[in-house]
Symmetry: C2
Subunit: 437 residues, 2 copies
Amino acid sequence: MNPVKVGLLGLGTVGGGTANVLRRNAGEISRRAGRGIEISHAAARNLDSTKADMTGMKLTEDAFEVVNDPEVAIVIELIGGYEPARTLVLQAIANGKHVVTANKALIARHGNEIFTAAREHGVMVAFEAAVGGGIPIIKALREGLAANRIEWLAGIINGTGNFILTEMRDKGRDFADVLAEAQALGYAEADPTFDVEGIDAAHKLTILASIAFGIPLQFDKVYTEGITRITREDVAYAGELGYRIKHLGVARATDEGIELRVHPTLIPERRLIANVDGVMNAVLVKGDAVGPTLYYGAGAGAEPTASAVIADIVDVVRTLSSEPATRVPHLAFQPDALSDKPVLPVEAIETAYYLRLQAADKPGVLAEVTRIFADAGISIEAILQKEPPADSPDATVIILTQRVRERQMNAAIARIEALDTISGAVTRIRLEHLASN
Amino acid sequence: MNPVKVGLLGLGTVGGGTANVLRRNAGEISRRAGRGIEISHAAARNLDSTKADMTGMKLTEDAFEVVNDPEVAIVIELIGGYEPARTLVLQAIANGKHVVTANKALIARHGNEIFTAAREHGVMVAFEAAVGGGIPIIKALREGLAANRIEWLAGIINGTGNFILTEMRDKGRDFADVLAEAQALGYAEADPTFDVEGIDAAHKLTILASIAFGIPLQFDKVYTEGITRITREDVAYAGELGYRIKHLGVARATDEGIELRVHPTLIPERRLIANVDGVMNAVLVKGDAVGPTLYYGAGAGAEPTASAVIADIVDVVRTLSSEPATRVPHLAFQPDALSDKPVLPVEAIETAYYLRLQAADKPGVLAEVTRIFADAGISIEAILQKEPPADSPDATVIILTQRVRERQMNAAIARIEALDTISGAVTRIRLEHLASN
């Protein structure tokens, strides 16, 4: 059979990696796919600065030329960002072309519109590379766990954030210090907001939750909290108590609705996912039949991302001639079978908590605090009291609570902060046991 | 669309679990598959002793009735063992039915024959449940990593063995003692040979290696060593040196051929896979583009296995109407593109080693031993010498070596065992760093 001709938008890190892997492993890939895959047309904003080997490709600086090329059967969108990516993808779809994209921001924000257009035109939009880099987590959730009611998932889905938290723990360093190093190493962008404020993770969580629960993409409903306020003291105290702090995306289905939240989280150090360090990613998924499963690998980088992009191309090639109705639905569930379960406001989520407070070092203070928790019906799991340093009148008190609604915790914290014997704000970090039940 | 009718062979643990999950999650599954799945006909050796809810199924004690039922589109083989499973599967294929099986022994030993028959009749044989229970590892390797040249994989693929080794380490217990407990708990069979001698793991490794490297199934060429000779002392010494002992299936592609081996293995304790404990399974796969990825979950049990069986049914349902040539090939690679790379004999494999020897407690002994290694070109990584206990004239010496051919190590060990100052045989456990390169 003739090779399938694909058009590549973007020849940066991932685009170059995709071109390189397709070339290097051409034999291996066509032995699997039963058909060659050839980049026939590629677009880059600035062709002169591109480092990929572009032998045999038609080249342009106008991405619309690729999207409108009648020879191209599959468009690979590796530009990133909302626009012009959205317009290009919609144009490709309108032209009857299948699309493979690594663009999580685009799918999280415009996926509902894009998938509707794709259905109308009978084409596929594949996005394995949008979450977890080279880890085939989209495929695992959409296909591998198809027998399950997914109960919850929790993922380390931003490598930059995980690198920073790992360094803070291993070396007792401060956030700002490690961030500067991550920027120097190229792990963090010059503007690190998307990574350290959790927006990138929220994009990915939006996608994971939709395919896990069969709900529309609802990026604007994700509760998102970054890691910028995590101190090395919190990391150390968590360690003393047998926990590690990870920046998690958590999605959970409850009777009332769906929890969608990205925030720093204490996890028991004996959990496998607590030991996922550096820039690596992992997603833990709990299905009712399969129990807990975990998927681990490189969450970013040229070739890991290329691995996912090319797997998607092979998948699309296999189903080029199939009836659209028999294909794996974009959001795992048939489009007319999506659930309208509401996404819960953060006040309605239920989780355990790590709290740190500065308390006057005199008798009775702890009794006042624990009385407030008792009144609110919040059970305490552990208390750790640190003697005040020489220059401070206040002791540090760490409290771990059992699971409680965020709303109740907010009320309790407000009462505690109003105590004369407590200085400043209470630091609160959510805690998840991620046990299998 | 009408529900797809499937026939179920075997209503034991996995068969019952499959029936239960299909019923409980019928809504969830058909929301994904776009079509209902209905067990219309089921066979069990003894229907009276079956605990599954069989409402609405035609029942028989003759499995061939199911295989020959014209209404059945997909046959689910959950009987296990070689026969009559092989004959039933071949008959189902001859009747033009697709097959889903959890039978690793059958696929490892008779897969080449079965897949050839399936191709001739244009049907699929799916076997996700044959390896790693509910972990979608077959899908990850065949499809998710399709862009990669797989360099090696290493898996904890027998839950019983991993439970025993975990208990030995956590509680300092002996092998025989833990095995008896595992049998009482139902984690180990009355005849535990398949688990503790590595045969079950070898079946699974055979399958993983074929789909990773595109080679025919070659079960009889797997080097297989069980865990029965692991002592609690070895587990403790390994721990002192920063390693854990796991029973691994290892497959590696070298320039000369394929290494296929199942044996106890020391792994650095900081590796994620070293922390996979109890009955859980995990497979670590190194691809040239994606780097290391890991897949973790329950490797056995009624519902985890059912999860994989049903995922396969959904996959088969999706491709019922597709051209056979476009389907994912049984062994990941197109049947005419399999590799004839030879499987290497164990003497040709390359690995690091943990050695334990009993040496006379006098000067010069260690010099003799290290001289033998130096002569053989074997580099030593670490030596740990234990003072002899009061009742013994011999000290215990632990040596970790760097990577070397097994053939060279055999020769060195023979020379060491011939020394007057060494008592008894040298204990040898292989050691793998499982680093990402």
